[in-house]
C-alpha cells in the first residue's frame, strides 16, 4: 500500500502561468531537475514515488490543464498541444534540460515531447506509456467502464487503487473528475489512446530512454506493447516490475524510483 513516507518533507505548491495557461504544480527535493507527467487520476498527488524521487532529484509534478481541479484549456485539441505546452513549461521555469518521466497518458505526452525536442531532455523514462498503435493490440476502452472494471484493468493489486481514489463524492469532486475525463477524451477518444503519427517518429528520440513496465499491465501489456516501444525507441532499456499492473510507480514506488535513479545516475 503506497503511502507517503512520514519523514518526507511536504511538497511546495505553486500556480504557474505558462503562456496564458494556468498550471498547478507540486515540487520538492534537491538535485538534478526532473519533471514528472502524471497519468489519468494522478494530478496533484505526491505519493511515495514522488517522495522517493525527491531524495535524489528536484522533482516537479505539474497537473495537466483540466486535471485535478485545474481549469481546462480550450486550446488543447491534440496530444501535440500538450507536448508544446510542456516545452513552454520548461521555458517558463527556465529549465534547459531535464530528466523527463511520464506515466501512462503522461508517458504518451513525454514521448511526444521527446520526438520534438530530445535536446531538452537529459533522460526519458516512460512508465507503461500509451500513445502508439501496436499491431495486434487494442487498448481496452476505459471510458466505457465503471470504477470496478477500471480498477480491474489498471491495477494488479486493487488495494493500490485507494491511493488514487477521489477524496469524496461531492458535486465539486464529481465535476472535477468530469472535467478531467473530458480533458483526456478531447485528445484521446478516437483514435483511442494513440497518435497515428507517433510510432514512426519514435526513431527521432536521441535521449537515453528507460521503459518501466508492470508485468501484469492489462491496459498495455508487456507483450506486445512494451516490445513495440523497445523496437522503435533507439537503445531503449526495458525494466519489468513483477508485482505491478499498469501503474508500477503506484504499485511498486520504491523499486521504480530506484530504477529511475540508477538509470539517470548511469548517464551522468
Amino acid at each position: 500500500m503506497p503511502v507517503r513516507r512520514a519523514d518526507a518533507p511536504e511538497p511546495e505548491r505553486r500556480d504557474l502561468d505558462v503562456r496564458g495557461t494556468s498550471v498547478r504544480m507540486l515540487s520538492g527535493g534537491a538535485g538534478p531537475d526532473l519533471v514528472f507527467l502524471h497519468g489519468a487520476g494522478g494530478a496533484g498527488r505526491w505519493l511515495e514515488f514522488q517522495a522517493r524521487l525527491a531524495e535524489r532529484f528536484h522533482v516537479r509534478c505539474p497537473s495537466h490543464p483540466g486535471h485535478g481541479g485545474s481549469p481546462a484549456a480550450e486550446w488543447i485539441e491534440h496530444i501535440s498541444d500538450l507536448a508544446f505546452h510542456y516545452l513552454d513549461l520548461l521555458d517558463t521555469l527556465r529549465l534547459e534540460r531535464v530528466h523527463l518521466v511520464g506515466a501512462s497518458f503522461g508517458g504518451w505526452i513525454a514521448a511526444e515531447v521527446a520526438v520534438m525536442a530530445s535536446h531538452r531532455l537529459a533522460s526519458l523514462t516512460l512508465i507503461d506509456p500509451v500513445g502508439i498503435k501496436v499491431d495486434g493490440w487494442i487498448y481496452p476502452f476505459l471510458f466505457g467502464m465503471d470504477i470496478p472494471e477500471i480498477v480491474q484493468t489498471v491495477f494488479h493489486n486493487p488495494m493500490a487503487a485507494l491511493a488514487l481514489a477521489p477524496p469524496d463524492q461531492s458535486v465539486d469532486t464529481l465535476a472535477f473528475q468530469y472535467r478531467q475525463g473530458a480533458a483526456i477524451a478531447r485528445v484521446s477518444w478516437n483514435p483511442y489512446l494513440y497518435d497515428p503519427l507517433l510510432r514512426r517518429r519514435l526513431a527521432r528520440i536521441t535521449t537515453p530512454t528507460l521503459l518501466c513496465w508492470g508485468a501484469h499491465d492489462r491496459l498495455a501489456p508487456v507483450e506486445p506493447c512494451a516490445q513495440a516501444w523497445v523496437k522503435e525507441v533507439p537503445g531503449a532499456r526495458l525494466r519489468v516490475f513483477a508485482d505491478s499492473g499498469h501503474v508500477p510507480h503506484v504499485e511498486e514506488p520504491a523499486a521504480v524510483a530506484a530504477a529511475i535513479a540508477e538509470f539517470c545516475g548511469g548517464i551522468r
Binding site: 471510458f143 466505457g144 467502464m145 465503471d146 458535486v171 464529481l174 465535476a175 468530469y178 472535467r179 475525463g181 473530458a182 483526456i184 477524451a185 478531447r186 477518444w189 478516437n190
Partner: protein, 381 residues
Amino acid sequence: MKFYYFHLMPYVMEHDEPSSWVTLSNRSYDPKAGQRLYHQYLDQLEYAESLGWDGLCVNEHHQNCYGTMPSPNVMAAMLVRRTTRAKIAILGNGLPLRENPLRLAEEIAMLDVVSGGRVISGFVRGISAEYFSTGVNPTHSRDRFYEAAELILRAWTEPGPFPFDGTFYRYQYVNPWPRPLQQPHPPVWCPSQGSSETVEWAAKRRFPYLMVFTPVKRIAQIYGEYREACERSGYAASPYQLTVNVPIVVAENDAKARAIAEKHVMWVFNTGLRMHPPFWRPPGYMTEASLRRFLENPPPLPSDLTFEQADAQGYIVYGSPATVRDKLRVFSDELRAGIVCSGMNGGSHEATLEMMQLFAEEVMPFFREDAAVDETAGVGR
C-alpha cells in the same frame, strides 16, 4: 391541440445484460422477427394518419433494443409515399454523429420534395450512448451540432454553390440538389433534455422545443425557461413551439389501462433504457454547468423508475378515455403545449391498433378547437 404519433420501433425482449445499449449483443436480434416488427410498426404509423393524427414521428438511435431506427430518414422515406396528409417528423437526426452533414441537408430536402412539403426536421445531438456506438468524440458534440446545423440551414437557404469552412466540416462547393420544397426550409424542431444552452439556441431561432419522457414538473420548468428565452428574443412563443412526448395508454377502464402501462410502457424505461452507467455520461458531452445542475438534483435512472414514481411524476398518461382526457388537459391547459407526441403499445399489434382507434374516437375529438390551424406556420424557421 395537435397529435403526433411517435414510434421508437423497439425490439421488445427480456434479458439479464447490464445494458440494452451499445454492448447488448446483436446476436439477440432475429431478422425474421425484425421484418415482422418493422411492417407492423409502419402499418401503425400509416393507420395513425387514417385515424386523424396530424403527424408521424420517427427518430434515430443506435445499437440497442430500445429503438431499431439507426436511420430515421430511411423510415421517413417509406412513409412519405404511403401517406398524403400527415406531417412526417424526423425527431431527429443526430447531427454531430455524421461525418458529412451535407448529406443530411440532401436527404431531408429529398423527403421534403417527394412529400410535397410535409417534412419536419428535428436536429438532435444524439443521446450519450450514441457516442460510444459511433466513435464520435463526445467533447466535440455541442460544437459539431451547432456547426452542422448552420451548414444545413445555409445549404437549404443560400443559393449555391458557396464554400463552407468550419472547424469540423469543410466544403469547397455547397450546392445540394434538390432544394427543399418548404420555404425558406422545412421546420426545425429541437428534441432535447433541457440543457439551458439548447433552450436558448432553439428559442432564438423559433425552433419548437420537444421534451421526451420527462416528469411534468421538469417540463413546466423548461417550458418556462424557453418562453422567457423567446421573450428575450422579442416574441411570444406559440403553443406549437412547445411539444411534449409522453407515452399514452387508453383502455376501456382505468384498471385495464394501468395493467398495460405497468407492463408495456415500463419496459421502455426499465429495460429499453437500461444502460451501463458509463454510457449515460461520456466525458464532455454535457457542459460542466449542466452536469452540476444534474448532480444537484439527480433524477432516478430510468431502469430504477417504478411504475408508482412514473405515474406520480407524470411520465405516463394512462386510463379510460375520460381519464386520459383529464390528464391531457394538464398538457393543453397548464403546460400550454400545442403538440402531444405519443406512441402506443397495447401488447400486440392488434391491441395497439384497437387502442389507437379508441384514442382517435374518444379522446382526440375533445381537443380539436384548433383543427383549422397549420401548426408549422411561422414556427421552426
